[in-house]
């Protein structure tokens, strides 16, 4: 639930289209949009319809949730999906079209941040070995890419290194005897699968 709120707030900032949609795994798909609490209707005034290319339309049941800043969040969640085929989405309020969007589900992944981020000494001066556990997504682990960002513990100037499908990276050229703060985020690499950058993992601290 904590993860869901974070994802909602990230997409509200990053995704101009409505409804905003994301996949977290191979078989799930979530869409939402927000309205001002005052002007929003009750949940049964709305219908969310989706149509895969060459198929009949289906309905996705909606839930309404209170959101920050006097907003109401309308959410649809599917736990069966089809990828690599266009999906057309229509949202109606009282039979009037209010949102309209086409997408491919495999291109809107928004994953949880990498887990178990650790930083350890490599034995060499000015280096740290950063490792993490990739999100457990079958078929997709070699389609992931990572950003490792680091800074000295008292600074806010983050440096960034990019890693391909991997679960570790060695940071080099660091100041010896200094405490560093390290965090990692993940996204699909944009070839077969794509999407948004995940949130950053909680930072870990390690001295060089």
């Amino acid at each position: 639930a904590r993860g869901f709120e974070k994802k909602v707030s990230m997409l509200l900032k990053e995704e101009p289209e409505n409804p905003k949609c994301f996949a977290e795994g191979r078989k799930d798909f979530t869409c939402f949009w927000v309205e001002d609490e005052e002007r929003a209707g009750s949940v049964d005034q709305y219908t969310f319809t989706y149509t895969y290319q060459n198929e009949n339309s289906s309905r996705c049941p909606l839930r309404a949730l209170p959101a920050a800043g006097g907003k109401r969040l309308f959410v649809c969640h599917l736990n069966r999906t089809q990828m690599f085929v266009q999906m057309d989405i229509q949202v109606q309020r009282d039979r009037t079209l209010i949102h309209n969007r086409s997408l491919l589900i495999e291109l809107v992944f928004l994953l949880d941040p990498p887990a178990n981020v650790t930083a350890s000494s490599t034995g060499q001066q000015g280096q740290l070995n950063v490792s993490w556990v990739p999100p457990p997504l079958k078929y997709m682990d070699d389609s992931m890419m990572y950003e490792v960002s680091y800074t000295t513990a008292d600074s806010h100037m983050w440096q960034v290194e990019v890693a391909g499908a991997s679960s570790e990276l060695i940071l080099r050229g660091l100041q010896p005897g200094t405490k560093y703060k390290v965090r990692v985020r993940v996204k699909l690499d944009g070839i077969s699968y794509s999407g948004y950058w995940s949130a950053w993992s909680d930072p870990v601290f390690m001295e060089t």
């Binding site: 290319q53 069966r80 089809q82 990828m83 690599f84 070699d142 077969s192």
Partner: protein, 160 residues
């Protein structure tokens, strides 16, 4: 001669990127870039539960018949298109499909015998827009072809 198995997905990634280039060129093409008649194309959709319930042979045939259909469809596009920039992209895409077949052969995936006509093939449909065809081409490579290569038996033992 025994072929070395091509398990490196970067090879497919290169083909996908070139297929995408062809799609982009097509989208900006204004003249001499339409299909003169509709063509049969494979389904690109993947529902993972359904895919995983197929046998390896069914998966392979699904991919191979799709590659064959795309080859026919792109050849037909090649003859109806007059735009020269597109010609080279379509030629390249057709050659890449042949190379993908060769990659499948290198993985000991059973040779596919094309049917006499496209009529009897299950799950196919027809498109009449060249842009749709090139989009389907990209989605097919990104989806089913990649899944087949990822699971290929020949690549499971050999981790190189």
């Amino acid at each position: 001669s025994p072929l070395r198995p091509i398990c490196d997905l970067r090879v497919l990634n290169h083909f996908i990127k070139e297929a995408r280039d062809a799609e982009v060129v097509m989208k900006s093409c204004r003249e001499g870039c339409s299909l003169s008649e509709s063509v049969t194309v494979p389904q690109t959709r993947v529902e993972f539960d359904v895919w995983e319930n197929k046998t390896a042979l069914e998966q392979a045939q699904d991919v191979q018949s799709g590659l064959w259909l795309l080859q026919q469809a792109l050849s037909s596009l090649r003859t109806s298109v007059t735009n020269t920039a597109l010609h080279s992209h379509i030629d390249n895409s057709i050659r890449n499909l042949l190379s993908i077949n060769a990659v499948l052969r290198s993985l000991n995936i059973q040779e596919y015998t094309p049917p006499a006509s496209t009529a009897g093939l299950e799950g196919t449909w027809r498109v009449s827009s060249a842009t749709d065809l090139l989009q389907i081409h990209v989605n097919f490579l990104r989806g089913k072809v990649r899944l087949l290569l990822l699971d290929a038996q020949a690549c499971q033992q050999d981790v190189s």
